[in-house]
Symmetry: C2
Subunit: 255 residues, 2 copies
Amino acid sequence: MPTPYSTPMELLARKLDSCARLSDADRAAILGLAHTVRVLPARHDIVRFGERSNQSCLVLQGWVSRYAALSEGERQILSFYIAGDMPDLQSLHLDRMDHHLATLTTCTIAFVTHDELHRVFRQHPNLIGILWRDTLIDAAHYRERITSLGRRQALGRVAHLFCELYLRQRAMGLTSGLSCPLPPKQSELADALGLTSVHLNRVLRTLRTRRLVTLNGGLLTIEDWDELAAVAEFDPTFLHQTVEGVPASEPAETV
Amino acid sequence: MPTPYSTPMELLARKLDSCARLSDADRAAILGLAHTVRVLPARHDIVRFGERSNQSCLVLQGWVSRYAALSEGERQILSFYIAGDMPDLQSLHLDRMDHHLATLTTCTIAFVTHDELHRVFRQHPNLIGILWRDTLIDAAHYRERITSLGRRQALGRVAHLFCELYLRQRAMGLTSGLSCPLPPKQSELADALGLTSVHLNRVLRTLRTRRLVTLNGGLLTIEDWDELAAVAEFDPTFLHQTVEGVPASEPAETV
DNA sequence: CGGTGCTTTGACATCGCTCAACGACGGTGG
DNA sequence: CCACCGTCGTTGAGCGATGTCAAAGCACCG
């Protein structure tokens, strides 16, 4: 399932279109953004805690994670990012990183300097709101994660994350039926969900046994969306996607 | 400890000054924001899940909470807001609320319409970045909460929240020595921390016994900042305050 | 064919939850 | 003024969900 994009900024335009409404002028401005592209190996820090950044990154291919490092080598993964996401927009207005940003898989990443972003903002003030909105949606994801960690048990937490990651990939055309890539290892999923990898493994077995979901070789397959969403108490409102499509019991194949 | 402000927008200016740098022109623009003021009773919803809003609110006095409601009457408090905070800025760019906003105590709240904000943004584009930054700091608070819920045990979680709430109030001049208001009831703190009120109560006893913190009648008193911060593994970076002041062992009295 | 890293499983420990009761306190009405 | 009541805080006993530790299985790869 390769990322189906022609140019980096077309990918960004597609992404922004899935959470906002992009006018033709805005779209053109996006497509004109100067950028550089780099391929980074898996498990490689992009920006580190404490650093100042003068550019923001756009994921073109692969998965990126945002994480906080605690003492004793413990780690909390704060969020996952996929093709089309700009995980580093906050550096536009916050001077120091308060966490790390790292690749999870081999990644293709585009970098846009803050100067370039400010230039486009000056010429197309509309875009400010659209990218601001993007960071607000990021915050909405955080809120949902807080709710999960605070009030759901392990099973619901895992189910909820799977629903979220499936729908986000679906909006970017990265799913195939009820399957989608899920490259993080179990220990990484555990670090995101506030669980140990041992317990996560047992939860995965439960999900498999109950015929809700299977996870194998980096491929997630949802066998029963309705039941999975019920276990997760999943409500897609927080995703703020323009296309509200929750998979029907018999979901449409994505184009 | 009454909120020491003369006018609503002076309070906002003071707040923004504590996390950014406000030029004189920006400051004047803030002071000129048209608004209305209302007093709301405690435990009163300001905006509800699913609603659309055409205004944003500014807390002038009292405490506000953002919360998600789950089935079975369960609730996760996502964050607390105090005088100077604008908890509702996201409604500028997100059409539907994905959670609730409610008063915790009796509150004085100022409301500014989105139209008015957009007007000021047009005349003072600087302010866009400053308010955007404010929402990004909100997100930084979420991240820290995720880390707490995911990777800290109850004791550290509680200690961390107390450190955060103390420093945020300190930046607004709402503390007195190492004491500050903490109006939420134990059940509300528990709902914010992913604990039951019973267990939170035991944790508070531990904190009291270990002479770190006492909480009594809505007043939080920190007895040993260094030790409390150590238990919490507290690092104030995520607050993104311009004045970095962490209380010394013998903290300066706030003016 | 022997690493190396990830997943899976078992046995046991522990943190935090549940249920239940009681105490402290303030408001209200007689 | 006092009895009553509701709310909040406090405590105990037992239980359940999740963590810890340790080992084995398994796939990939040199």
